[in-house]
């Protein structure tokens, strides 16, 4: 029934003269999941990359058509599981837009705090995983040490470490834990101390810099044309931070900079993410002592019914722009729901970026794209 195996069989036969077709994935140490790339090589030089998707496609969009507006939010954590909070936020936001619910100020601040913590956690994991792709195993553990603190904070307040389902239409599910502020402050302190380690081990390392600089170049025009968002586009100098250009929640009242690099190579994307972590810390520091008192959840009806119409909300996840497009017919379940996931568009630029470079460069390029496969496959 499945001709996917046929494709694999075909590619074991070499292409034209001097070409070598290899399958990277679906089980490969560098693809972080079940991404399957069929790569045509000439020696070690990449001539063509063809992604084969669908190994973990769960048809979330179809699933959501049978889930109510409260229920479908939890599914979105299973897409980009590293920024599940932000996915939840985007979905809850879209429902709130349709219902015209005004959420309390406290909930807004908590949501922003959680989003930024998630962003740091995601970038920490990316940092470790990318260093591992380049053959340095140790930064992974150092990055996970800090990430673990965030996970503990999440566990305490939200009840889970990865797929939190903490955002609900109208606010957040619980109030923050009493220890939350103190723990976040401890994390900020530790992060600031330990972040120099990453610089020593990774950023300033000559081997690392040589591997990253001038590799996987994406021009500004191409980044826009390929629909790249997030750190991938910002590394090419495209200003696309949704938090800045279409502020949601309270992002218009906190001070932070949109990180932009112009080189467009892997190192630029790397620097964008590292500097973004510092900006997230800056946002957290501004907000952590200023969480307003009050309700954490607006009063909503038990059964949510969106009015007839179309609603779209955009949020900035750790990987880029996440869009939720709900088409409602006035029922309790969405008529059609579309998730615009950042990884999907970013992946489409991979072939353009990696063509003509060495096989080793592919890992550097793919590492800085920060692909999360469930996000691409949905």
């Amino acid at each position: 029934m499945y001709t996917q195996t046929e494709i694999i069989k075909d590619t074991t036969v070499n292409g034209s003269e001097g070409e070598l077709v290899i399958n990277v994935g679906p089980q490969h140490p560098a693809t972080h999941g079940v991404l399957h790339l069929v790569i045509t090589l000439n020696g070690e030089t990449i001539k063509k990359i063809e992604p084969h998707l669908g190994y973990i496609h769960r048809s979330i969009e179809k699933m959501c058509e049978s889930l109510s507006y409260r229920q479908f939010i939890y599914v979105t954590s299973r897409m980009d599981y590293l920024s599940s909070h932000i996915n939840n936020l985007g979905s809850a936001h879209c429902v709130e837009k349709g219902m015209q619910i005004e959420i309390p100020a406290r909930a807004k601040v908590i949501r922003v705090l959680m989003s930024e913590l998630t962003r740091i956690a995601s970038h920490e994991l990316w940092l470790g995983a990318m260093a591992m792709d380049l053959g340095a195993f140790t930064p992974f553990f150092y990055a996970f040490r800090e990430r673990e603190m965030i996970n503990d904070i999440m566990e305490e307040t939200c009840g889970a470490r990865l797929t939190m389902n903490y955002m609900v239409p109208g606010g957040v599910m619980y109030d923050i834990h009493p220890d939350f502020q103190q723990k976040v402050k401890a994390f900020v302190k530790q992060f600031k101390e330990k972040v120099t380690e990453y610089d020593d081990l990774v950023t300033n390392n000559i081997i690392f810099q040589n591997r990253m600089k001038g590799v996987g170049i994406l021009s500004k025009e191409d980044a826009v044309s390929y629909g790249c968002t997030g750190p991938v586009a910002r590394g090419s100098g495209v200003s696309c931070d949704i938090r800045k250009i279409f502020p949601y929640e309270i992002y218009d009242t906190v001070a932070f900079d949109e990180v932009l690099e112009t080189a467009g190579d892997s190192f630029a994307r790397y620097m964008v993410r590292v500097r973004e972590m510092h900006q997230s810390i800056r946002i957290i520091e501004q907000l952590i002592d200023n969480i307003p008192e009050g309700e954490y959840q607006a009063k909503t009806k038990a059964v949510l019914k969106l009015p007839k119409g179309e609603f779209y909300s955009r949020v900035e996840t750790a990987r880029g722009e996440f869009g939720v497009y709900i088409v409602s017919e006035g029922a309790t379940t969405p008529y059609r729901i579309k998730f615009r996931s950042p990884g999907f568009s970013n992946l489409s630029a991979l072939e353009h970026m990696a063509k003509g470079s060495k096989l080793g460069d592919l890992m550097a390029t793919m590492g800085t794209l920060d692909l999360v496969i469930p996000d691409i496959d949905r």
């Binding site: 070598l20 077709v21 290899i22 490969h28 140490p29 560098a30 070690e44 260093a131 591992m132 792709d133 380049l134 053959g135 340095a136 195993f137 140790t138 992974f140 553990f141 150092y142 040490r145 081990l201 990774v202 390392n205 081997i207 690392f208 040589n210 591997r211 060495k358 096989l359 080793g360 460069d361 592919l362 890992m363």
Partner: protein, 358 residues
């Protein structure tokens, strides 16, 4: 002073007194084979455990600690597991070469044990071209790797083997040149002579900066020759899954794995012999009292200590640095290491001729 020299001499005398010379030689050979194989097994187990523990501690983990006290028997358990596993041979592989390759790699590693002086007078074969022998034999291991990569009928393996070939061939050069600098200084190719020349101080300390440079180059080059990170392009996990030994499993994989660690041990032993005086205790010029105290530490301990220090250094590299790209690897050799070591060799020669070393 405690030494193994007495024991070896006693055994030899006893053998030659009891049997006729040809039988004595046969028995000696048997003893050497037994010892070498035993050393192989023990070294493999110890080094793998050491690697895992070093990695764990660098990575703020504990490492294996479940099997035996402090995880001591972890590698024994792993070996048992590997022995019991099925050794798969891919369908379209060249079966003869595929099965031969691990043994070639292993035999090369075993041959290299011959000239190494483990302690005073404890050497299998003190041949007069010891250094030459080592550089000649050590470049043979690339044949085994190429064989494995080619015979597996796997594209990843082939790429890994090709990378490995280019890498070992080029890094032989600077390894050879840095070894030459010690040959120039001591004026002999025989390892026992080189050790003897370090009686009043190790070459690393006696030879000024040029020897330190050649020591650094030697360490880098042998790291590359043994396919260790940051030069592990032949097996580059994130790029080629496992490189040349992707298709190997069971005991044949274990042989590759073991040979890698034995090779590390051997190159570190050579490094310790050439630069750090082998089994020679730490002697400083004319400090007679200090030298005398140092002599009380057995020579085997000196040798093992130095070797394991170098092994630790190489492991430390592995768990700190990212991997180089294949073209950067060759750049590093041809643009940096080779010119520097050539220039350095001239400096060393000048020092040796003018007798500027201590």
């Amino acid at each position: 002073m405690f030494s193994l020299e007495g024991i070896t001499n006693a055994i030899q005398n006893w053998l030659y007194n009891t049997f006729n010379p040809s039988w004595a030689l046969v028995f000696e050979c048997l003893i050497v084979i037994l010892l070498a194989t035993g050393l192989f097994a023990i070294l493999g187990l110890v080094l793998v455990l050491m690697e895992r523990k070093v990695a764990a501690h660098i990575q703020i983990r504990l490492g294996p600690n479940r099997v035996g006290p402090g995880g001591m028997f972890q590698t024994v358990a792993d070996t048992l597991k590997l022995i019991m596993k099925e050794g798969l041979t891919p369908d379209l592989a060249d079966k003869f070469l595929f099965n031969l390759a691990p043994f070639v790699v292993m035999i090369v590693a075993m041959l290299l044990l011959a000239p190494i002086a483990f302690a005073r007078g404890f050497q299998i074969w003190d041949l007069n071209i010891g250094v030459l022998y080592v550089s000649a034999i050590s470049s043979l291991s690339v044949i085994g790797i190429l064989m494995a990569g080619w015979a597996s009928n796997n594209k990843y393996s082939l790429l890994g083997a090709m990378r490995s070939g280019a890498q070992i061939v080029s890094y032989e050069l600077s390894a050879g040149l840095s070894v030459l600098s010690i040959v120039v200084l001591s004026g002999s190719l025989q390892l026992s002579d080189i050790i003897a020349s370090q009686e009043n101080g190790w070459w690393l300390f006696k030879g000024h900066i040029p020897v330190i440079i050649s020591f650094v180059i030697f360490i880098i080059a042998v790291t590359a020759e043994t396919n260790r990170a940051p030069f592990d392009l032949a097996e580059a996990e994130s790029e080629l899954t496992a490189g040349f030994h992707t298709e190997y499993s069971g005991m044949r994989f274990a042989l590759f794995f073991l040979a890698e660690y034995i090779n590390i041990f051997i190159v570190c032993a050579i490094g310790a012999t050439l630069f750090l005086g082998g089994w020679m205790p730490l002697h400083i010029g004319h400090w007679q009292a200090f030298n005398h105290i140092m002599d009380y530490i057995p020579s085997s301990i000196w040798f093992m200590g130095k070797t394991f220090f170098l092994i630790f250094l190489i492991m430390w590299f592995r768990w700190t640095f990212p991997r180089l790209r294949v073209d950067q690897l060759l750049n590093l050799e041809w643009k940096y290491l080779l010119p520097i070591s050539m220039f350095n060799l001239i400096l060393v020669t000048v020092i040796a001729i003018l007798g500027w070393h201590f």
